[in-house]
Symmetry: C2
Amino acid sequence: MSMIAGGSAGPTIGEIGEFALIDAILQSVPADPDRTRTVVGPGDDAAVLAARGEVVLATDAMVEGVHFRRDWSEPGDIGRKVVAVNVADLEAMGATPVGLMLSLSAPADLPLSWVTAFRDGVLAECETAGIRLIGGDTTASTVLTIVGSTFGDMEGRTPLTRSGATVGQKVAVKGRLGWAAAGLRALSRGFRSPRVVVEAQRCPEVPYGAGREAVAAGATSLIDVSDGLVADLGHVANASGVSIELTTANLDIAEPLQAVASATGGDPVQLVLTGGEDHALVGTFETVPAGWVELGVVTEAGEAGSQVLVDGEVPDWPSGHDHFAR
Amino acid sequence: MSMIAGGSAGPTIGEIGEFALIDAILQSVPADPDRTRTVVGPGDDAAVLAARGEVVLATDAMVEGVHFRRDWSEPGDIGRKVVAVNVADLEAMGATPVGLMLSLSAPADLPLSWVTAFRDGVLAECETAGIRLIGGDTTASTVLTIVGSTFGDMEGRTPLTRSGATVGQKVAVKGRLGWAAAGLRALSRGFRSPRVVVEAQRCPEVPYGAGREAVAAGATSLIDVSDGLVADLGHVANASGVSIELTTANLDIAEPLQAVASATGGDPVQLVLTGGEDHALVGTFETVPAGWVELGVVTEAGEAGSQVLVDGEVPDWPSGHDHFAR
């Protein structure tokens, strides 16, 4: 149940004002246990951190009604999700997550209690992901919009881009595929179960640390699956000038995904191949590391250019998500 | 005149889709002339840059209807402004600007031509500010929201925080005070002149490089004036445990500000002391450097704690801007 539905949610952020809001967010940020990193923490014009190697930077926005709904997700889930989706981009380069900044644009009538519960989710997921909240910005908007931007450190490793896949290598995944999409399908039809997929939609379970694992295992490319496996592997294929052939017999279709597909008349394999928002990591390897699941192989691009083939065919369904499509 | 008013603005971003939109933005990003900085540029999961010293990170949001209006500003002005306000936070630490990421949340019916004109403004101001567009994110929203996040490099310098001001030092400014507020006041009353203040509201003239100048001149604290001189010096006074006394006889009230004040019945001194959004840099120094204007002195905090006094008095007007206030 969303806090906004209640009648006694306490003061709104408009009533307490911008500076009290910032204080409420910052009061729970733990001190940096690793003082060699944080030179200037939250509260100044900018944060200052020590870098040990090349610096990795990414940004990802979450907009109410597009990426989350306050009647589907608790504020803590939304806080956890904004951390997870942002750190996933650092993982996809093989970086060590270091610092997160949050920009919160919110209606003045948003209850302060919503923000503090959101903040608690942010800080809990930061702890899990091994990243620190280092700063941010608050402002008014009619649409609740949360933009994360992250700083990671390669710490001497070489970044894993999308362009390194070579013919003959294996494609392998760590993390979930299709779970968040199954949860969205359930929620869209008014269901709150299966609980595990609904929770996966509210906040993905990102395989933290898998980026560094991939570097150690000699990965030649890496991407996080935000738009859908076929769509995101399409980016790898294009950037690397190769094709990718997936074998659906390799896919492990978890029971809750089968349940959602059968209840809603969909194809569970399509859910796994096109569902985004789980932020699994997919890489290309000479040898698939332990804990990763082999999905297919890298092949030469044919006359039609770089393609992602599923069981030898070009899929005839939309491969991923376009945020601006109607 | 806004592009949205026209009947032949070409395709919308919803019609061309997310990936074509990203291509349209990235096609004009110049190659990095300093290849030792950019390890991975725009287009991958994240950008990777080389750091030479401590890393400085900041984020700043601009929301339609709160920070800009499409009927008051050309898209190019809005693009320039998002760069300027973000780089100002790096300047305020004494950092060298390096990289900018942009998160663009926009309605699907936004014309592509608006985005390309916005992008041209972004790239022009990046050139002026000495920063590079290194990545970003696009998504749908009902409210046009642009969030910048920036990466700067201390390059061996010590960051200038808000907490270093000590009693007896001088307070000095570089840049404009009150111009953007005068422009807002003119626009709010339906005027399009004086042109210089209206333009200052559309995009501030940030004194790029002044942060490094302040470091070289031995500044002990530095802040950019985003909310208003008295409000922002209040942050410095609080963080440093001092009071600050401003002398209005030191203020140079430019003619266009006097014109706006006299046409709208306001006090031009109050405009200079409370107007935000010009992003002048204000620091504390033993000796005021050339090109900076002395405004007052740092004094001991009295019984009432840290205060900002104007001609010896606590001002009785609101000192700055609260984004959530009605």
